[in-house]
Amino acid sequence: MELAQLAPRRLAARLAEGIDGTLLAIALALAAIGLATLYSASQDDAARLTAQLANLAFALAAMWLAAQVPPQTLMRFAPAAYLAGIALLVAVALAGDVVNGARRWLHLGVVRFQPSEVMKLALPLMLAWYFHKNEAALKLRDFALGALLAAVPVALIARQPDLGTAALVAAVGVYVLFFAGIGWKPLAALALLVLASLPPLWGLLHEYQRKRILTLLDPTQDPLGAGYHTIQSTIAVGSGGIGGKGWLHGTQAHLEFIPERHTDFIFAVYAEEFGLAGGVVLLALYVALVARGLMIAANAATFFARLLAASITLMLFTYAFVNIGMVSGILPVVGVPLPFVSYGGSALATLFIGIGILMSIHQHRKLVQT
């Protein structure tokens, strides 16, 4: 009798071990917003909600596992993860599935996933590992090498083409360099280098990508083509007003004026139905998430852990910023989901694994402090 009562409690305690309640609460709140919005946006397709629930369950399990792995172990596997990520990207370039004209997906038996997702975590792991190894005396040469390590996957992802993810991965690389203490001058030089590489990059861009960027400057140029996304999502956001039209009452979403309303443009649905008030809540949740993440980074035990936590946190921020910026019409339309909210298994898993890593770092914060 006593045993029977004890066992679940023990199990709960074991499950809760290493789990940061604050982070989990924030992430789950965001996921709940996502599910509610998704429910509203997919009344034509109820299966989508079930699928996302399954995605969430899988992502939570992955987070739990990640939270159980101590940072030292992660560090040990960092180069392997990076190399595996590179290998997958090469594989996808050679044998990936083409969806919407881009080769991004890889079939592994029954599961289909985007290898670029792996790189979102593998790159900061790798760079944090590299800088940690040379922690005592980081020279400019090290930062240059770090930049090169970042450039390889970025180039591979950009070639798919998946400009949004490439930019994100590049941003994560820069974050690691930044936190690793790259001097202001080399940082400025790097920024200049990126700027200087823009014109030649423009030539490498696909027609639709150029159009998206040009359309950002004036969406009305092509109201039925490239500008359509931005115009309709802006209308959805603006028409939401302060209080929103109410859950399930967004006309823009329900009449299918918002394209990709389950995935990249889910914020338009949310903002239409919940208004500015909902937007403030969502932004507050992200601010809390970032604050918690940066706090964990600041208190992390090792250089590796600090770099990893800070860059993962800023990656989460970047996701949210780019997505909301794009939906509200101040950034070009790139395929970046709204973290924890958008529909989609790969991204959700990556995000929760990231959260898991943060939890693990938080859990092991005092260990080396002797």
Partner: protein, 639 residues
């Protein structure tokens, strides 16, 4: 070493935490930017975007009302509606029109005619309108397109009501036709403040009663508020006010009489107007040649249009009200009446007719060589003496003639309920002053008065004016405004509005004078120039033949029918009323370029009167198209 390392460590941690702080501030700034953007969109610009979302969402779909029918006096349908499928293109939503049409042609038949019409419509009509590339699709074609619909954004099958004229070209100038609303129609509607009632309407009356009764026939447009999705598909109806069908218009015209009258013309060009003298109701209204109004219904193809528009026979010209002709000798009864009323002649007074009248050194010839001898007023009408009227006109003077004729409606629009009526010319010094610019042309010459007396010279009247003058004569001087429509019916309310006879004026005339003229006109049909055409008629009637010169003949030149090109041949005219006592019908006939009125116009009048009064065609009638033969003396004698 250890301490240095620790210090190093401390410093490194400090730098890291500094950078975390910087990152934190950057994050806050970035989210602040997003918040500002959201506030701008959702608070400052909220009204704009809310309106845009509504615009996106709600579409006002007009429901075009069913057009009213046009019926003859017996309820025979002259214009009706039927439903058919059309294949329509919304040009604004199609990127490459040519390619789309090309691809459509693989699924449904698209003839060059259809393409030409589509291009014409595209050039003519209001923008943002869906235009038919094909009309009257078969069920099979509808099914074939439906299966391929996804390939053609901006192309749709629509069920449309079409106008149909079951009698084809019969009474085409009465009924008229409808056509697509043009930019000019649109402007006119906007000026009249009617454009909102025409939002769902594609067609408008362009000619005939379809045009003049457009607003009765059209009805009231209904509206439906429909919630639509991004693809423009209607999701659900939010509100609806149904359309109210147009009114039915019933004519005083009898389509069977019309058919008989048109048949009597055969292939000849001309016009006939038959009126009910006691009300002004139009009984028959012919303008030949006509046209098939059905050609116009779904947009006339350019080829047919060219054919109608450029034909030398001018089939689109409504001769009955827009064609002007010299009345010729049909003018004489009115001249005789004027002489009696003004005391210029007495019935008993006679003249000697040598075959010409000399004035100012110029001879005005009688159509009968050698003249009619001693002629009194009665004979002048029955035998149609020109000399008598040359002299009479000279005696009366132009002012007296114009003043009298004006009262019979000559040279003025009759006011019939059709558009496009011509005024004609009632010659007078005032008219000349207005008509011409140069002083020597503006002056009226006494010699010009003389040919006015026989219905030539500047005289130019529409067949409608002639018929109205005869009807006024038949109604003892009461002139009723001619009208085609007898009543207008509102089908919903059951309300019927009759077109009441409108007395334009009562021409004051002495009974004995009227009686004399009617007796003389009866004499025309009994023993005069109309006798042949009215031989054996089972009713009494009055008439007058007329032959109007198309070109002026030189002095001493004799008219030779055979030598003159067809277009320059004389117009044949006839006016008539019947029965003599209390006339039920008065008419005027003009047969263009045919020759003598007695031979070509009077028989048509006989056919119409027989059918109207007896309900049958004449038993012993010369054929509709009389064989070309040398006119005998009797015909030659009269005009």
């Amino acid at each position: 070493m250890r301490i240095a390392e620790l210090k190093d460590h401390q410093r490194e941690l400090y730098y890291f935490q500094l950078r975390v702080g910087i990152a934190g501030i950057a994050v806050l700034l970035a989210f602040g930017l997003l918040l500002a953007r959201l506030a701008y969109l959702q608070v400052v610009q909220h009204d704009t975007y809310a309106a845009k979302a509504e615009e996106n969402r709600i579409s006002i779909v007009p429901i075009a009302p069913n057009r009213g029918l046009i019926l003859d006096r017996n309820g025979v349908v002259l214009a009706r509606n039927y439903s058919a499928y059309t294949l329509e293109i919304l040009p604004a939503k199609v990127r490459d029109l040519e390619r789309t049409i090309q691809e459509l042609a693989e699924i449904v038949e698209v003839q060059p005619k259809d393409r030409a019409r589509f291009r014409k419509l595209l050039a003519e009509t209001r923008n943002a309108e869906s235009l038919p590339i094909r009309t009257r699709l078969s069920d099979e074609e509808v099914a074939r397109f439906a299966a391929n619909r996804y390939r053609f954004p901006g192309v749709e099958i629509k069920a449309r009501l079409f106008r149909q004229y079951p009698h084809g070209g019969l009474a085409s100038h009465v009924v008229g036709y409808i056509g697509r609303i043009s930019a000019r129609d649109q402007e006119r509607l906007a000026e009249a403040g009617l454009d909102s009632n025409y939002r769902g309407t594609d067609f408008i009356g362009k000619a005939g009663l379809e045009a003049s009764y457009q607003h009765e026939l059209h009805g009231v447009t209904g509206f439906e508020q429909v919630e639509i999705d991004a693809a423009g598909r209607g999701i659900r109806t939010l509100a609806r006010s149904p359309a109210k069908a147009g009114n039915n218009v019933t004519l005083s015209l009898d389509i069977r009489l019309q058919e008989v009258a048109e048949g009597a013309f055969g292939a000849r060009r001309g016009a006939l107007v038959a009126l009910d003298p006691s009300s002004g109701g139009v009984l028959a209204f012919v303008s030949k040649p006509g046209f098939d109004p059905n050609l116009f219904v779904d947009g006339i193809d350019p080829q047919s249009w060219e054919g109608l528009n450029n034909s030398p026979d001018r089939p689109l010209n409504n001769r009955a009200i827009a064609g002007v002709y010299p009345p010729g000798s049909t003018f004489k009864p009115f001249m005789a009446l004027a002489a009696l009323e003004l005391g210029k002649r007495r019935p008993s007074s006679t003249i000697q007719d040598p075959g010409y009248f000399e004035f100012g050194g110029r001879r005005f010839h009688d159509s009968k060589r050698g003249g009619h001898g001693t002629v009194d007023l009665y004979q002048s009408i029955v035998k149609s003496s020109d000399t008598y009227y040359y002299m009479l006109a000279n005696d009366m003077g132009i002012d007296a003639i114009a003043g009298f004729m004006q009262r019979f409606g000559f040279g003025a629009k009759s006011g019939i309920d059709l558009e496009g009526e011509a005024t004609g010319v009632l010659p007078s010094p005032e008219w000349k002053l207005k008509r011409f610019r140069r002083p020597e042309q503006q002056k009226w010459y006494a010699g010009e008065t003389i040919s006015i007396g026989v219905g030539q010279g500047y005289n130019a009247y529409t067949p409608m004016q002639l018929a109205l003058a005869v009807a006024t004569l038949a109604a003892n001087g009461s002139m009723y405004r001619p009208h085609l429509v007898a009543h207008v019916d509102n089908l919903r309310s059951g309300e019927r509005r009759h077109v009441e006879p409108v007395l334009v004026r009562r021409v004051a005339l002495k009974d004995e004078n009227l009686e004399f003229i009617r007796r003389a006109m009866a004499g025309v049909n009994r023993e005069g120039t109309g006798a042949r055409a009215f031989a054996g008629a089972q009713y009494s009637s009055g008439g007058k033949t007329g032959t109007a010169q198309v070109i002026g003949l030189k002095e001493g030149e004799k008219y030779d029918e055979k030598k003159i090109a067809e277009r320059f041949k004389d117009h044949a005219l006839f006016i008539a009323f019947a029965p003599l006592e209390s006339p039920k019908i008065a008419l005027a006939v003009v047969v263009e370029n045919s020759g003598f009125g007695a031979r070509f116009a009077a028989p048509i009048a006989r056919i119409v009167l027989d059918y109207y009064l007896l309900g049958r065609l004449p038993e012993s009638m010369p054929g509709r198209a009389a064989p070309e033969e040398e006119p005998d003396d009797e015909e030659r004698e009269g005009d």
